[in-house]
Every structure is written in structure tokens, then in C-alpha cells.
Amino acid sequence: MESPHLIWLLFVPLIASVLSLIVHWFGDFTRPILEFLHLASVTATLVLTFIVAGQVLDAGEALAFSDWLRVDSLGALFVVIVGVMGFLSGIYSIGFTRHELAVGYTNHDIAIGGLDMGRLRVFYSLFHFFLFTMLLAVTSNNIIIMWVAIEATTLSSAFLVGLYGTRPALEAAWKYVVICTVGVAFGLYGTILVYSDAVNLIQETSKASLWTEIVKNASTLDPTLLKLAFVFILIGFGTKAGIVPMHSWLPDTYSEAPSPVSALLSGVLVNCTLFVIIRFSIIVNLALGTSFAQILFLVFGVISLAAAVFFMMGQKDINRLLAYSSPENIGLILIALGLGGPIGILAGLLQLVNHSIVKTMMFFLSGNILMKYRSRSLDVVKGLMQAAPLTSFFLLAGVFALVGAPPFNIFFSKFLIVSAGIATGYWWLMIVCMLLLMLAFTALFRMGSSVTLGQKPVEIQNGESGFTTLAPIAILMVLALVLGLFMPAQLTDLLNGAVEVVNAGVTATPLAGPNGSASVAGPLGGLSVESFFSFFSGH
């Protein structure tokens, strides 16, 4: 189905980005106008993502630009993530940047700086451009453009990372850009290999770069080349996704970037690159059978998980701790994908969604802490319970959610992953993973207790950080709870569709059961989504 909304979805942030750069002509009104523009853009983006997702639910896919842009269920899932997280980050940014403006940009070589008007403009402009590139990555049907978009995310976010202009911020930005461009260059290499293989098979060369066309001809691709290509792709895009050992930019970047940016990086960008990897893995699965990609996923998943939890042990910096929690979760997602089968893929995608909700929330919270304490060190940040009870409540809830305590959403996706592992016979791997997760659990809990409890430093004033910085957190918190307790039918349909897409090459039979339908049962009126679990109940 041709979808003009899809085009608008890309253009809105792009226009907002350009406009943001030029508003300084308005002098004193710059900031309000910037903020208005910003709000309008993120809201429009959010609405458009929902529209596009709705179209996908109705018609199966949304197309634009003669198939160069295409959103199927898998894509829609990611589009929605980008839209929602972009919107919430957008809201959060307003409060955050106001506070940082109040702190002011200083030229001194301090650990954590503030902002000035110029940088604010850059921030808003790049914010939207960043959003645009991510949306492009997940809507593009052209594998080369996909790569371009991913590379562009790096470039657009580079200055966001270094926005504070302090020594650590610049260092982080440099590392981020260099490592990611290098990594993504590997990705390019892999992409080229796939494309060059496809171009020999597909008569219409203009279509050879379309993912849909490659998938159609996947079985005739050269296996060796594809293997080579996939290795490059996994390593390349894996760099961006924060898979260990290519993750090394990640802690520096997440900790030094302004919090809304960290939230987007960890909550969304990671997903977008994973999306690319998943897209390629579908091709590989079709061409080589599932085992090749799955084994790679499993290996890297376990490595990521294991290394990440050890990085988290004894980490003194809140943001770095949260940053390392990303490879941990990516590892889990990869393991789930590596386990394969409908359950595994579903578990992986669900974990991906849940992780992005919770991790975004956590970075918002760390931003609030930063605003209050001007520090990220666990030695300094103490007694949040006294200083800002609400923030501290959210932080605790976030920690619980992140470690997968019920009733939060990660509990269920974690559970599904373990179930998938057991169903596929990886008992011991699952036990090892759970034990490794215990370390993450320990580290996060230590952080949670250290920050919220204890005696707060005397110079810190009591008080919350304001509506715009708390509301997005509250929304995410509610989301985390809701997805833990119920699963909205639309999301279920999207997930089902996505699983179908990912699983397409493997099993001939699509998911059993009808599409999700809500039914009320029991006094709680639990939303019942039949197809969601039905594929296990029927074995």
C-alpha cells in the first residue's frame, strides 16, 4: 500500500532539523520558537508513526518512493519505538535543556558542562536529524540506503554526544565517531557483498538493492559470499549495536552525552542497528538455513552478556553502569534470536521493545540526577530519597524493571527467553545466562540502593526536577507496567507480524491461530491475546 504518511514521517523531522538551525534570527524568542518547533515536530512524528503502524496492521505493509521505503510489521514495530521514544525524549529535552541553559555553557575544563543558545540550536537541529536518520534506517527497503542511514545516525549524533564541549565529552564523541564509522564501514563491506551477489541474479538492477527482492531470490545467492557478507555485517552493525567486543565506544558515549541523547542512543539507535542485522539475517536464513546466523547470534549474545555484566560489577558511574546494561540486554536479545523459532524470535523482539522502554526511562532518570547533583558518581549521588522522593521512587522502580523484577515487562520477556532456551534444549546455557544476569542484578541493585538511600550531600537542595522531565518517566513507567501485565492487541499483532517476517524463511507454516483478539475473562478483565501464546500451547 502506497503511503504518503511514510514520506511525511521522514520529512517532518528533516524539516524541523533545518528550521531549527535558522531560528536564531528571532533573537529573544529563539528558545520558545525552538521549543515549539521541537514539540510540533516530535508530536507530528509520533502521530505519523502511529498512522503508519496502523496502515501496516491493516494492509501488511506501507510503501513509498517506488518501494525504496517500505514498512512491514517488523519495520512498523521499530518505527513505533522510534516514534514513541523520540516523542518522550523530545518532551524530556525541553525540561532538560532549560535546566542546562540555566547552568550555562562554560569554557572551563570541567567534567560536566552546561549549554548556551548556540549549542541549544545545534542540539534541537541534530536531534531531529538524528530522528530522521533512524527513521530512514528502519523504513528503508534499500539495503544500501539502510547502511547510509546508519552511518548518518553516527554522523548526526556525533555532535550531540560532544555537545557539552568538555574534555570527556569531546573524547567520547571522537571515539564514538571513529569506532562507529570504522565499524559501519565493515557493514558497508558486507552490504556491498550482498548487493553484488544479488545484482548478478536480479535482472532489473535498480531493484537488486531492494531487500524485498533479495529475499525473494535469497535461495539462489552464493552461500560463501553470503557467509562472508554476514560476518562483515554482524561485526559492522554490531559495532553500532554495542555487541561485545565492538561495544567499546558505548560507555563513554552514553555517559558523556546529554541525557536525552543517551536515552535515544541506548533506547532507539541500538534497536535500529539490530533491525538492520535482523533484516540481513532473514536473507542469510533463507539462503543458508537458520543455523549459521543463529550460532553467530548465540555466540555474540553470550559474549556480550557475559562481558557486560562483568563490566557492570563495581562500576562507580551511574551512566556507565546503565550503558553497560545495554550490551547485556543486546546480548539477551541476540541469544533469543539465536535460539530461534517463533518463541525465541518473539522473546527477542519483546525484550527489545521492553529494553528500549526501560532503558530510556533510566537515562531520563540519570539525567534528573545529573541536573540535581551535577555528578554521576555513586560516591557523590546519595540520599535521593530525601532530595527528590518521586525521582527516587521512579529510579527504584526502574531498577526493578531493568533487572526483570515482576510485574515489570522485562520479567516476562526474560521468562520467554528462558522458555525458548529450554524449549530448544539449551538448558545449561539458560542457567549460565541467569547466573550472569544475577551479576547485573547485583550491580544495578547496588546502584539503586546507593543512590536512593544513604545520606544526601548537605549542599544538595530538596526538590523534584519539574514536570517535563518527570512526565516522560512516568509514562514510560506506566508502559513498563502495562506491558508487564497486559499486552495491547495492536502490539501483539505487530509482534506476531514481525515474528512472521523474521521467521519467514524458516518455517513454512506461519503462526497458528487467528489474529489477536481481546476477550475479557475473570473479574480482572485480563486482556486475552490468543495468538500470542497459542503457538506453545499447541506445541
Binding site: 571513529v178 569506532i179 570504522v182 561485526i235 567486543p245 567499546s248 560507555p251 563490566f311
Partner: protein, 672 residues
């Protein structure tokens, strides 16, 4: 009302008056009166119940209990009725006595005292009538519990509290042993009813195990040597009417339990069971009295004497058990008769003596006999009843102690003529031992009475003593009358108790006759006529009087009213015979037996010091799991974490290298 209804109403009265007393704790006098009079009334009900059981058939009551362990069964057979009777008699006297006596404890919780006391008695009544092991244990422990609080009632005294602890601990261990024996039976029968236990049909080996467990379990409560150590500490620690109950009846519930389980239920099938009981009885009797002799604390002396008397009772039980296993009905009946009779007698006179001691303490505020003396003048009535008790316990006719000891002797004599070699050798020996014990008991109580009531007051307390209130005298008087009646009325009492004994021994009752006989027609009619013996004794006493009178030695009877002559010094009260110096010769004679105590102390000290050292090493053991398991794991994780974190050394070029290495490794692995 039949026996059971009476019993239940009695128990409920005890409980109700106890609770009422607790509620009235703020007002001490009403509390005292309620618990005392209520207890007395309840005791009357209990006694009537016992009588009703004797008169009517054995009664029982069944209720579906709250537990899965069978019904709540109350059964009044002869043995139970006998025990109820014994308890009720003493409880009656103690209750009356307590009305006055508890005044001593004013301001220290008279209400609570009444509560625990009455609950204690009620629990005892239930223990001896309940016929289900589960409920038996409940009441058994309830009895211990209530009496524990009575023992530590004088909580200001450290030794009271520690005595109570020791008492409760040993009782608890005993309970555990009893429980084990019940469990073994339960395992075989699937029920806790005594009735089903009877039909268990266990192998003899297991039965013997049950016997041993039960013997030591009940023995701990009965205070047999060497499990007696708590007794001389705990009994004196309690208020005196409670001491009376403790010594008088509570330790007898253990005898009851032993008879119930090993004789009634298991049927004492092996001769050595009885022999074990006999031996421990003999040992307890001997050591008990030897230690009593040495005591200067009046109440401790009485407590040691209880050990002795329990020993005597056990000797009777032992003989009876052997009689059963050897299928000699006469021996069995005589043995149990002796045991039960002595049980009853001891309840009476030991109760009397403790109450007497309580009266002394009430007036003189000390328990040390060396600080007494001359109390007979100040407290004539007390002195008199105490004398009655002392005479009775010394087995001097015509009072009851003589009667039951006589039966014990008789049972031992009959036993020595059985065909069992062991008995032929040992029964005479035990008879001799019993004689010795009797002699020493007499000596002990001469000392007790003499140093307490005669001579000069040896302390200010003793000098200022006055006679105790009427209720106390009434309580003691009642017991004195009972002691006399049980002695003089032996010919009429014996058939009753003999009937019980026969029931216990599971033989027909006709073999025992009653009446005044000196020479019984057959050995089964081993009944003595105490009136005749009394007359004989009285006659013997009149003989010297007549002689003196006839021979004109009337000067001898003249009273000389002058100061005692003391080798030139003025007489001092300290010069008189005291508790310490009186027993000096005996101490010398029985040095080895006293040495036992010091000898036993050594291993005990060893154990204690080992325990102390062991205990000292425990704190180090506490974190052992942490130190050996969790901390190493944690340290390991940290070390690994350190290695991993070193990967992130901050160098951009290394980071790029990682990517390259990852790629290279993958390429090599995949493409070889």
C-alpha cells in the same frame, strides 16, 4: 454424676478458680482465698470421682479430639482412680494450707501463684486419667510447665531460676524419651490410643527399647538416681505447698506413667525390666537418703528424701514387674501393692513434712536448719504435726510409712524364694539395703525434727518465730490425720489398693483377703494388722515404764530444772546438736557414697569445659559458609570483572583492534 463427670468438673473447677485468681491478681486476699478454697472444693470433687470409680465400674469418656491423633479419651480404671485419689487428698490439704501460707508472698503475685498451682493440679489429674498418648503428652508437659513457673516463683533468687531451668530441661528431655516410646508404638499401630497400644504385638526387642526409653523418660521426672539432680534444687525452690505437691504427687505421676506404659500396656514380659527398675530403685533409695542425711537445708533434705522414697516405690514396682514376667501373680500383686501403698503414703507424709517445713519457713524465714532450733515452743502445733510426719516417714509403726515399707520387705522376701537365680541372690540384698535405708531415714528425720524444733533457738529468726495461721494448721492437720488413718487403717485400706494392684498385674482380686491377721493363711494374704503391731509396740513401751515404776527408780523420771552443763562454759545454742554435726558419723561411714558426688563432678566439669571451649570456637564457625563459599565466589567474580574491565582501557586504537580481531577470528573460524 459418674466418676468421669466428677473428674471433669473437678478439673474445670481447678482451672476456673485458677483463672479467677489470675484475674484477681490485683487484690491479693481474694485471689488467695479463691484459689485455695476453690482448689479444696475441686479436690473434694476429684476425691469423690475416685471413690465413684472404685465403687462403680471403670468409667471412660470419649470425645472426637481436635487433632488427627485420635480421640480424646478419659478412662478411670483402678490405677487412675487411685492416682486421682492420692492427688486429690494432697491437693485438698495443700489448697487449705495455701490460703494462709500464700500471705507470705504478698506483693509478689499471689494471683499468679494460685493460677499456676491450680492449673498444675488440674494437669496432674488429667495426666493420670487420659488414655491417649497425644493428650497424655500435652497434659504431661502442661504439668511440667505450670510447675516450672511455680518453681521459679521466687524469681529474685538466682538459684530458684536456675533450678527451674534445670528442672524443665531434664523434664523436657524425659518427655522427649517418653514421646519417642509412644512414637514407636504409633508407628506400629497407627494410633495414639492406649487401647490400640495394648494390641500392638510388637517384637520383644522393640518392646524392650520402648521400656528403656519410657523408664528413663519417666525416671527423669520421678527423680531416680542419676537423673535426680534437679529434684533437690527445684522442689525446695517452690513455695512450700507447691513443694508438697511436687514431691508428694507430681513425681508419682511418673511412676503412674511407668506402670501404665510398661506394665499395663506392654505387660512387662521380660524379667530384666523389673530388675532394672528394682536396681535403680535401690540405688535411688540408698543415695537419696544418704544425701538427705547430709543436708542442712530443711527443704532440700525433704527433697532428697523424696528421691529415697521414689526409690522405694520403684523397688516395689520392680518386684511387681518381675512377678508379672515370671507369672507369679502373688509376687506381682504384692509388689505393686507395696509400690502403690508407699506412693500414697509418701504423698501424705511428704506433703505434710513440706508443709511443716513451709510453716517453719513462714515463721522463721530461713530454711537452714542450723539457724533454727527450739521452734517447738513457739509453734507447738506445727511441731506436733511435723513430728507425726517424721515418724511416719521413718517407718515407725503405727503410722503409714511402716505399713508400706513392710509390704516392700514382704515382696522382696517372696521374691527371694522364686526360682530366678538373680532374684534369689539380689532380693535379700535389696531387703537388707531397704533396712539400712529405713534406719538412715529415721536418723535423718530425728535430725530434721530435732534440730528444727528442739533445743535452743540458734538465730534471731528462730527466736522470733510464732505459730502459723489456722488454715495452714488445718491443711497440715488433715494430712496428719490421713497419715494416721492410713497407718492404723491399713487392714481396710490394703484390699482397696490390693485390688488396684491386682488390676495392674492383671490377676483376679480374690487372692487378697482383708482383716486383722497376724499369721496369714497363705502368702497371698500378706496383710499385716497395724493395730496389733501398734499394741505390741505400745506394750513394749509400757514395759520399761512399768519396770521403772516397779523398781522404784522414780528419781530417774524427776525433772531437773537447771542450766545445761558444758564443761565449764556457759551453754550456747551453738553447742547443741545441729544439722551439720549430727550427721557427722554417718558422713564418715558413707564417705565413698558421698565421694560419688565429687567423682561425678569431674567428668561433668570436663564436659562443661569442653562445651565452653566448643562454644568459644563457634563464633569463628559462624561465617564459615560465607568465607568458604560466597566470598570466594564474589572475589572470583571481582577478579574476572577486573580483567574484563581492563579491556576498556580508554585507547581508541585498541578498541578498533578489537573489532578487527573479532572479524579476523570469525573469518578464520568460518573459512578456516
Amino acid at each position: 454424676m459418674d466418676a468421669i463427670q466428677l473428674l471433669i468438673s473437678s478439673a474445670l473447677t481447678f482451672a476456673a478458680t485458677g483463672l479467677l485468681s489470675l484475674l484477681l491478681r490485683g487484690l491479693e486476699r481474694p485471689a488467695r482465698v479463691v484459689s485455695g478454697l476453690g482448689g479444696a472444693a475441686a479436690s473434694v470433687l476429684a476425691f469423690l470421682s475416685a471413690l465413684a470409680a472404685f465403687v462403680g465400674d471403670s468409667a471412660s469418656l470419649e470425645l472426637t479430639g481436635f487433632s488427627a491423633f485420635g480421640r480424646f479419651v478419659l478412662a478411670m480404671d483402678g490405677l487412675s482412680a487411685f492416682m486421682v485419689g492420692a492427688i486429690s487428698l494432697l491437693a485438698f490439704a495443700a489448697s487449705i494450707y495455701s490460703i494462709g501460707y500464700v500471705h507470705e508472698y504478698r506483693g509478689r503475685g499471689c494471683g499468679e501463684l494460685g493460677f499456676f498451682n491450680n492449673i498444675f493440679i488440674a494437669a496432674m489429674l488429667m495426666v493420670v486419667t487420659v488414655a491417649n498418648a497425644f493428650y497424655f503428652l500435652i497434659f504431661w508437659e502442661l504439668m511440667t510447665l505450670a510447675s516450672y513457673f511455680l518453681v521459679i516463683f521466687e524469681q529474685e533468687k538466682k538459684e530458684s531460676v536456675s533450678a527451674g531451668y534445670l528442672y524443665f530441661l531434664i523434664a523436657h528431655i524425659g518427655t522427649a524419651l517418653i514421646m519417642l516410646s509412644f512414637f514407636i508404638l504409633y508407628q506400629q499401630t497407627g494410633s495414639f490410643d492406649f487401647d490400640s497400644f495394648r494390641n500392638a504385638g510388637l517384637p520383644l526387642g522393640i518392646q524392650s527399647l520402648i521400656f528403656l526409653l519410657a523408664f528413663f523418660g519417666f525416671g527423669a521426672k520421678a527423680g531416680i538416681v542419676p537423673l535426680h539432680i534437679w529434684l533437690p534444687r527445684a522442689h525446695p525452690a517452690a513455695p512450700s505447698h507447691v513443694s508438697a505437691l511436687l514431691s508428694g504427687v507430681m513425681i508419682k505421676t511418673a511412676i503412674y506413667g511407668l506402670i501404665r506404659l510398661c506394665v499395663d500396656i506392654l505387660g512387662a514380659p521380660l524379667w530384666w525390666w523389673g530388675f532394672v527398675v528394682l536396681c535403680f530403685g535401690g540405688l535411688s533409695a540408698l543415695l537419696g537418703i544418704v544425701y538427705a542425711l547430709d543436708e542442712r537445708d530443711l527443704k532440700r533434705l525433704l527433697a532428697y528424701s523424696s528421691v529415697e522414697n521414689v526409690g522405694i516405690i520403684l523397688m516395689g514396682v520392680g518386684v511387681g514387674m518381675m512377678g508379672m514376667s515370671l507369672q507369679l501373680p502373688t509376687l506381682a500383686v504384692i509388689g505393686f501393692l507395696a509400690a502403690l501403698y508407699h506412693l500414697l503414703n509418701h504423698a501424705m507424709f511428704k506433703g505434710l513434712l513440706f508443709m511443716g517445713a513451709g510453716a517453719v519457713v513462714y515463721s522463721a524465714h530461713t530454711r537452714n536448719m542450723n539457724e533454727m532450733g527450739g521452734l517447738a515452743r513457739a509453734m507447738p502445733w506445727t511441731s506436733f504435726v511435723f513430728l507425726v510426719g517424721a515418724v511416719a516417714i521413718s517407718a515407725i509403726p503405727p503410722l503409714n510409712g511402716f505399713v508400706s515399707e513392710w509390704f516392700v520387705f514382704q515382696s522382696l522376701f517372696i521374691a527371694s524364694s522364686t526360682e530366678l537365680g538373680v532374684l534369689r541372690v539380689f532380693a535379700p540384698l535389696f531387703a537388707v539395703l531397704l533396712g539400712l535405708v529405713g534406719a538412715m531415714a529415721a536418723m535423718t528425720f530425728v535430725k530434721a525434727y530435732g534440730t528444727t524444733f528442739t533445743g535452743q533457738p540458734r538465730s534471731v529468726h528462730a527466736r522470733d518465730a510464732v505459730e502459723v495461721p489456722g488454715s495452714m494448721l488445718a491443711g497440715m492437720g488433715a494430712l496428719a490425720i490421713a497419715v494416721t488413718l492410713l497407718g492404723l487403717g491399713a487392714p481396710w485400706v490394703t484390699p482397696f489398693i490390693g485390688g488396684v494392684a491386682a488390676q495392674v498385674a492383671n490377676v483376679p482380686t480374690e487372692t487378697l483377703a482383708s482383716g486383722i491377721q497376724i499369721f496369714p493363711g497363705n502368702e497371698a494374704q500378706g496383710v499385716l494388722s497395724t493395730p496389733i503391731i501398734f499394741l505390741l509396740h505400745a506394750g513394749l513401751l509400757t514395759f520399761p515404764l512399768v519396770a521403772v515404776f516397779a523398781l522404784g527408780g522414780h528419781r530417774a523420771g524427776q525433772r531437773v530444772d537447771a542450766d545445761p552443763w558444758a564443761c565449764g562454759y556457759g551453754y550456747q545454742p551453738q553447742m547443741g546438736i545441729s544439722a551439720t554435726n549430727f550427721a557427722q558419723p554417718m558422713l564418715a561411714a558413707f564417705r565413698p557414697l558421698y565421694l560419688l558426688r565429687t567423682l561425678a563432678q569431674k567428668p561433668l566439669d570436663g564436659i562443661a569445659s569442653f562445651a565452653k571451649r566448643f562454644g568459644a570456637s563457634l563464633p569463628a564457625a559462624e561465617p564459615v559458609v560465607e568465607r568458604t563459599v560466597s566470598q570466594p565466589i564474589f572475589a572470583f567474580v571481582r577478579t574476572v570483572g577486573g580483567w574484563v574491565q581492563r579491556m576498556q582501557m580508554g585507547d581508541l586504537r585498541m578498541y578498533c583492534l578489537y573489532i578487527f580481531i573479532a572479524l579476523a577470528v570469525l573469518l578464520i573460524v568460518i573459512f578456516k
